[in-house]
């Protein structure tokens, strides 16, 4: 029972990470192309300044929860995916430093290096997390001798489709966030960009959902338990909502896009169940919520911690988002 609960929490933590850090990774990828003036740059950074760091903590929590609840998955997931994970970490390191130091440096050469670092450090994690999850959805080549893949084998078509889907969905998510937080010219440009990105995201989302039918076993759970189909349906509804609300309600468009990302993650995770990392060679070597978990005692301890503290975290994070949901005035940016 606790194993199932922790499997859901595991999926939820990744979903929260993608839905929250997704938009600030998106802003980072948009940064060099979208900002026309210093004012635009300041507005873009201010829109994520108060929240990006706390958004990234969902990744740390997802990592920590994997370690605590499924230590065997944690050990194999991160050692098998050694190089991609390290590249993600390098990206996150570079991005955070470049973002924080952009307005503390005056030398133009270093400024352009920092701006490029912010872009690259946002693109790498978005793309590689997508590639990694695309491969996990397909299963990794694991048998009794360990892992038989490498960085190149990860870059297969479905891995790349998922990677690009992550990138475009985060770009859309970021531009919707930007339109929510800004006004005037930058707001209009964000909306018109979001509209274009919406079509691209739709294309890759459909491509992902269709090709998943052919190259993964994700749909088996949905065919055997049809009521679970609500998950991919909510994902699609979220995406439709994001497109529908772009010009009529900024907040609804952003929230719809968040719902789309959350249920996209759950579509994948729900299809994986009971596995966290399926073996593409033989299901006997898959790492599941049951064969890779911690003891019932540890799971119980962690459940109590989650029940007490996660509501508190959600409460003050909600308060923060409310405090920092004001429209950024052009030329009057605060913070950095």
């Amino acid at each position: 029972m606790l194993n199932i609960l922790w499997f859901i929490i595991w999926g939820l933590l990744w979903a929260m990470y993608f839905a929250l850090d997704g938009f600030d990774l998106g802003i980072g990828m948009l940064f060099p192309f979208f900002a026309k003036s210093d004012q635009d740059k300041r507005a873009m950074l201010e829109s994520i300044g108060p929240v990006w760091d706390a958004n990234e903590v969902w990744l740390i929590t997802a990592g920590g929860a994997t370690f605590a609840a499924f230590p065997i998955t944690y050990a194999y997931m991160f050692s098998f995916l050694y190089l991609p994970l390290m590249l993600i970490l390098y990206g996150l390191i570079i991005r955070a430093v470049c973002l924080e130091f952009r307005y503390k440096v005056n030398n133009p050469t270093i400024v352009s290096l920092l701006e490029f670092g912010f872009f690259l450090g946002s693109l790498l994690p978005a793309l590689l997390l997508g590639v990694a999850f695309g491969n996990i959805f397909q299963g990794l080549p694991i048998d009794q001798n360990g892992y038989h893949g490498n960085l190149i084998t990860l870059l297969n078509p479905f891995g790349l489709i998922t990677g690009i889907l992550f990138v475009v969905a985060f770009l859309l998510h970021g531009s919707l966030w930007l339109s929510f937080r800004t006004e005037g010219d930058i707001n209009l440009r964000a909306k018109s960009l979001a509209r274009k990105l919406w079509f691209i995201t739709l294309f890759f989302a459909v491509l992902f959902l269709v090709s998943a039918y052919f190259v993964t076993n994700l749909y088996n759970n949905y065919f055997s338990m049809p009521y679970l189909l609500i998950v991919p349906v909510l994902c699609v509804l979220g995406l439709l909502g994001a497109g529908f609300f772009i010009y009529s309600s900024e907040i609804m468009a952003f929230l719809s896009s968040a719902i789309c990302i959350i249920f996209l993650t759950f579509t994948g995770v729900g299809g994986l169940y009971p596995n966290l990392i399926p073996s593409s060679i033989n299901n006997a070597f898959s790492l599941s919520a049951f064969n890779s978990s911690s003891s019932q005692y540890t799971l119980a301890v962690m459940t109590i911690v989650v029940i007490i503290f996660v509501p508190i975290v959600l409460f003050y994070k909600f308060w923060t988002y409310k405090t920092f949901s004001y429209k950024i005035k052009e030329g009057k940016e605060e913070g950095y």
Partner: protein, 438 residues
Amino acid sequence: MDVVTLSRLQFGAAAMYHFIFVPLTLGLGVLVAIMETLHYRTKNEIYLKMTKFWGRLFLINFILGIVTGITLEFQFGTNWAQYSIYVGDIFGAPLAIEATLAFFLESTFLGVWLFGWKRISPKMHLISIWLVAFSSNLSALWILIANAWMQDPVGFVLKNNRAEMSNFFAVVFSPYAWLKFTHTITAGFVVGAFFVMGISAYHLLRKQNVEFFKKSFYVGATFGLIASVLVFLIGDFHAAEVAHVQPTKLAAMESIWDTRKAAPIYLLLVPDESQKTNLIEAFPIPSLLSLLAYHDPNATVRGLNSFPSNDIPPVTPVFLSFRVMVGLGTLFIILTILAWWFARKDKLLDHRSFLKIMLYSLPLPYIATQVGWIVAEVGRQPWIVYGLLRTNDAVSKNLTVGDVLFTLGVFIVLYTALAVLDFALLIYYARKGPLETD
């Protein structure tokens, strides 16, 4: 070099690099919170300027602490998969709890503090910085609970080919963890205090913003004096706990090869690891080691030669690091007493050479914290979990030398570039002094 050595190098480098930035976060966070409290209470503008000036340096340092920490959490899995499988049932919990309880709080309220000057009430703003200071120290508690378990494993049973948690409270309330935690955060407070005093001394020597930096120095000196005394006292208790649960580490710290009763401490000692003895032992203080380690002048201290030779750590680095740490810890007490006295009597400007000493002492607590971790971690070898699991058996099986060589190389290049950038910014903004407007 093999995967184990390279992985150890990578983890050691990443951890030591992380710990350049963390102690200042621990100490300076509390100091900035104290400054903002002084402003909140007195409404004196100078304390607001202090909050902003030291707060900006805090932020520049903070971000490096964050990013270097993320890689550590994932390296347990990437490079130490066998370790993670063996201890994950126990070790993962404090890490996950650290993220849930501390990291969210820390990162959320740092954002609120930084961007909230005009958005929230002064009271809420003050609460935000205290939450940042509190939660960074809270995160130290949980990560040190995890580390303490590697030093002194408690509250577990061996089952299903791994260590499984049998008593969460034994893990959380392990005396080793609390000694380590209090020793580490007070060391961070010393780093913060010397940072503030050193930069203040720089400006006082140039007679710039004299009032501002006198006040800053006084706050730093008061805080630093309390912290220096505490870190020393707790360090003493901590060493006694080490003697109790990690006898090989204690013997390496003091380079004791032969078991002896009423063991002295030699003021001058040169270890000779190849001969498993000491080359020079001079100026003994009789019975001091027995007294400090076991609180009994006649207690027996076990020597390294009484353990199997594959169970003892490298002696020279542990011994030297320990000596340096204790020497510096003593010096900090002397310096902070003088600093506090001169600042209190408003005599700082009369003692230019003392101000110079305080300026050049700024790096010393950093050195002390680094060597302190060498004592803790090299002294734990050859075990990754003391007495339970050897470091050699803990590494991931699928990694190649090429993998780790590549990532270690990137780490070195990347971390060096970031450190240069960070130090350049710290120096630039520290020399610039407080903002005139704002």
